[in-house]
């Protein structure tokens, strides 16, 4: 039976969506199946490429390109090394183009990391930031006003401003107690983002804020400035306040992350692919060194999804693609791929939660060859048509390195191309 799709992608995080989009652009029929949206909904909505290098965990990386060069030379098995510096650059530009085309530009490049305020007021290094965040640039020293909303439990302007001031950035905070918000029982980031889409709400905010602006040159809001048209919201507020406006990422769910998710899903669909949520891949079937089908569970039976090539972008320990059991075994859940990690459970963690060095278990993952195909003990690919991207890959604690999004974008992009090539080979 001829498969209905060429490439089946498992997982709709940044890695899975990049892979799906690339494979679709390369002319493949692509289907993405996913249990739910991936880590995009949890993360800041920026692209962290390399925020802290392993050899200096205190000072943020100033120029990601230089640090990446060092990293790929020192660690040839690192996901970035598999992609190569040029590949990373190409993947990032490709993402930037998609976002630009969607009216949501991501600013920055590998020559420099932004330092942007976090929701506790720490300096957050990131490589690509949406247009809505870049006025928060902490390389600048002009005064900031941080705005919060009475009733919103996921953002504390006092904490942000005081920590910025502690680090010699003049900052004040203000909390808006808007009458129109008082009747609301719940003020999540998403609720607020929907409210900000309405001009009338923005008028109320601006009116309440104007007398409090003082010397502030720029005004920081929690990252809730609209779901669909954030740039319009930002520009409108800037016009009303006469100040630059920027967003600060909040606790999950992440509105900027949702925007990226929406843009990428749309890009996949535009290129002819499909994205199905609520589908959990539970096992796979292989024959002659090729994966034949991946099964999802629905209504108490298993549904097969056949394809020429498969992309595993299941998010590792964070996404649930790798599970650690009580007896200390690390298991890749769909195909039972070998997982590379610390030999003993006693070596999984350090004593300090915020340890600057990695908890060793978090670098655990699936080892791959130069085409991102999972390999066995001798380095030989286990399946010729299975490709792994994102956090399921072995090699680094990408959260500690602040490289989560960069690794996802770069490996997802590369894997999309490898998968497409493998389809072309199979058709030949």
């Amino acid at each position: 039976m001829r498969p209905r799709v060429d490439v089946l992608v498992i997982g709709a995080g940044l890695a899975g969506l990049m892979a799906a989009w690339q494979a679709a652009v390369a002319g493949c029929r692509v289907r993405v199946i996913t249990r739910g949206p991936g880590a995009l909904f949890w993360h800041a909505g920026c692209v962290d490429v390399l925020g802290y290098a392993a050899q200096d965990t205190e000072r943020p990386v100033a120029a990601p390109r230089d640090a990446l060069l060092h990293l790929v030379n020192a660690n040839p098995a690192h996901p970035y090394a598999r992609v190569g510096l040029e590949g990373v650059e190409t993947a990032l530009s490709a993402l930037q183009q998609v976002c630009e085309a969607a009216g949501y530009p991501l600013r920055g490049d590998l020559s420099h990391n932004w330092l942007l305020p976090s929701a506790v007021g720490a300096f957050r290094p990131t490589c690509l930031a949406p247009e809505t965040m870049v006025s928060g640039d902490l390389a600048r020293r002009d005064p900031l006003l941080i705005v919060g909303f009475e009733g919103m439990l996921d953002f504390y302007p006092e904490l942000v401003a005081d920590n910025l001031a502690e680090q010699e950035r003049p900052a004040r905070s203000v909390r808006l107690d808007l009458p129109s918000l008082r009747e609301r029982r719940q003020l999540t980031p998403v609720t607020l983002a929907q409210l900000f889409e309405a001009p009338e709400f923005r008028r109320q905010v601006a009116e309440a804020l104007r007398p409090k602006l003082g010397r502030a040159a720029r005004v920081g809001f929690p990252a809730v400035l609209g779901v669909h048209r954030p740039l319009e919201v930002k520009q409108d507020l800037e016009a009303k306040l006469g100040r630059e406006v920027f967003e600060i990422p909040t606790l999950p769910p992440s509105v900027p992350g949702m925007r990226l998710y929406t843009i990428l899903v749309e890009a996949v669909r535009q290129a002819g692919g499909d994205v199905f949520t609520g589908m959990e891949a539970v096992r796979a079937e292989a024959e002659n060194g090729r994966v034949q089908a991946v099964f999802t569970e629905a209504a108490a039976r298993l549904n097969p999804h056949r394809a020429h090539a498969f992309v595993l972008a299941t998010g590792g320990l964070l996404g649930g693609g790798i599970v650690a059991d009580a007896d200390g075994h690390l298991r890749e859940v769909i195909l039972g791929l070998p997982v590379q990690g610390p030999e003993s459970q006693t070596k999984w963690f350090r004593q300090e939660f915020l340890a600057s060095e990695d908890h060793p278990v978090y670098a655990a993952g699936v080892a791959v060859d130069e085409r991102f195909r999972p390999v066995g003990a001798k380095g030989v690919p286990l399946y010729t048509n299975l490709f792994v991207a994102g956090m399921t890959l072995a090699g680094d604690d990408v959260i500690r390195r602040r490289a989560l999004d960069g690794v996802a974008v770069a490996t997802g992009y590369a894997v999309g191309q490898h998968a497409a090539r493998s389809v072309q080979e199979a058709m030949r």
Binding site: L159, D325, A326, R350, F353, P360
Partner: protein, 514 residues
């Protein structure tokens, strides 16, 4: 309550010691019915009293004693007989009835007996006692660690404490000192130059992330490791080991202890090992015996009052030690009886008669109560801790009315961070509310945030796997990546930081060096 001017000092927050680190069982006494009849009698007497004076701290779960295929059936008649002698109500429950009530219990259980065990919230109970004491004029100073006792000849006349928060020395003069330092009682006595042989008996507990059972379930056998599951609030706790340790402050949780708890728990609830494990903790029992023993399980759970004047010729010091959480009130009663005697006054104890603050409605706590309150007050949108349903109002009250010095102190008041996400969302929120209300130098808030994350990590570290590991990875994503909380300004070490589960002198875990 009996008119003495009293100061209570505690080295950390209240319940820092063993009170805050047990499984939450209000004993019926059934556990000691055969082996330790004296302790059994004390337990059932106090069980009845505590239900009366602090029902709001107790969930009336009832308790089962069950005979599994691994247990000696000959113990059964001895158990029933022991309960009857101690005055513990006991009735046999047919196994099919038991399974109707607790469907996850092992169907191969052969006998089941019901006793009046219950679950008790020791944080809330301690706060209720402290509040009552305050209302009667007592002063309670937390984060005051006793550094030495002041002795004039053969008379103890006071204590010197270190105030950990202000980092200063505090001198307290007293006509009488009561040493109720639990597992630390030997150390306090030593400061006065007398020997009290406390054997710190470490017990490890493992919390499952949900209520595996709604009834306290005990194995019907002589007390041993991992033979009890206590449903408390939103979790179920498996306890416990009993390992003699040299130091009540520094001890590890060993991997074998976790494995043993899960393996024994599996005998009561098949499939337990596949369920989500939330957390582990360990406390030290203050076991007292005049002679040295090898196995701490053989030491009585009854309490002992030591009058050092008659025992050692040292006036001004009384030690109360041994005992169980369940018998705390009785221990206090006999202690203050002795205090009255010392001062030559006759004032009667009323603690068994007067309900504690918070018990006004005379209703037991029940599992759904926090949710019912959130629904009644329509507070869904005001939840700082979604897992344990702690509202913004609760947290504000704990900060402004309570004596919270750390976010962990807020946790003990309102259960913040005790649920499945283990502080993932609420640590940030609590730190933000704390900072907005108190407006301290921001580096102090940063330390409070760090300390609480580390405190939660402390109990996760021994058990982290499965879904809880995935959750922890999300918490890392939030605190490292979204917030960059590991690069906040200010000191990274604090005197109020949690004491990790590791032996004295640092870790001997077979892990990477830090």
């Amino acid at each position: 309550m009996r008119g003495f001017d009293a100061i209570l000092v505690e080295k950390r927050d209240l319940t820092h010691g063993t009170t805050g680190r047990y499984h939450g069982l209000l004993h019926s006494g059934g556990r000691y019915a055969v082996k330790d009849p004296q302790a059994a009698v004390e337990c059932i007497e106090e069980n009845r009293i505590l239900r009366r004076i602090m029902p709001h701290c107790i969930e009336d779960t009832g308790g089962f004693f069950v005979v599994t295929p691994w247990d000696d059936p000959d113990y059964v008649p001895r158990f029933v007989d022991g309960c009857r002698r101690a005055g513990i109500p006991v009735e046999e429950v047919p196994v099919d009835q038991m399974l109707r009530e607790e469907p996850l219990l092992n169907p191969h259980i052969s006998h089941c007996f019901r006793v009046p065990d219950a679950a008790a919230d020791s944080f809330l109970a301690t706060e209720a006692n402290a509040e009552s004491a305050r209302q009667h004029g007592a002063r309670i100073w937390t984060y005051h660690e006793v550094t030495r006792l002041v002795r004039q000849g053969d008379h103890v006349v006071g204590a010197v404490c270190h105030d950990l928060v202000k980092d200063e020395e505090v001198h307290i003069h007293a006509d009488l000192l009561v040493n109720a330092a639990g597992a630390w009682a030997g150390q306090i006595a030593a400061m006065a130059g007398v020997e009290v042989n406390i054997i710190p008996g470490k017990g490890v507990m493992v919390a499952m992330a949900h209520r595996v059972v709604n009834t306290v379930v005990n194995r019907c056998k002589l007390p041993s490791d991992g033979d009890i599951i206590v449903p408390i609030h939103t979790v179920a706790v498996i306890g416990t080991t009993d390992v003699k340790v040299s130091d009540p402050e520094h001890f590890p949780i060993e991997p074998w202890e976790i494995a043993l708890m899960l393996a024994e728990g599996e005998k009561l609830v098949p499939g337990l090992k596949q369920m989500r494990v939330l957390r582990a903790w360990a406390g030290v029992r203050p076991l007292y015996q005049e002679t040295v023993v090898a196995d701490t399980r053989d030491v009585t759970r009854a309490y002992t009052l030591l009058d050092h004047e008659t025992r050692d010729g040292l006036r001004g010091l009384i030690t109360i030690t041994g005992g169980k959480w369940t018998t705390y009130r009785q221990m206090a009663q006999v202690t203050v009886d002795r205090v009255c005697e010392k001062f030559g006054v006759e004032r009667h104890c009323r603690t068994h008669e007067e309900p504690l603050p918070g018990a006004e409605r005379a209703e037991y706590h029940w599992l759904g109560a926090p949710l019912a309150r959130v629904e009644r007050e329509r507070a869904y949108g005001r939840l700082v801790c979604e897992c344990e349903l702690a509202t913004e109002e609760d947290v504000i009250r704990a900060i402004t009315e309570g004596q919270a010095r750390t976010i962990d102190d807020i946790r003990r008041d309102v259960r913040l961070g005790m649920g499945p996400c283990q502080g993932g969302f609420c640590t940030y929120r609590a730190a933000g509310i704390w900072h907005a209300l108190r407006r301290p130098r921001v580096t102090e808030t940063n330390v409070a945030l760090r300390d609480f994350l580390q405190e939660r990590w402390k109990g996760l570290l021994p058990v982290l796997h499965g879904q809880q590991l995935r959750q922890e990875r999300l918490d890392e994503l939030i605190y490292l990546s979204v917030l960059n909380a590991d690069h906040l300004p200010g000191p990274t070490v604090s005197p109020l930081a949690p004491v990790m589960y590791e032996p004295a002198g640092g870790t001997q875990r077979d892990g990477p060096s830090t």
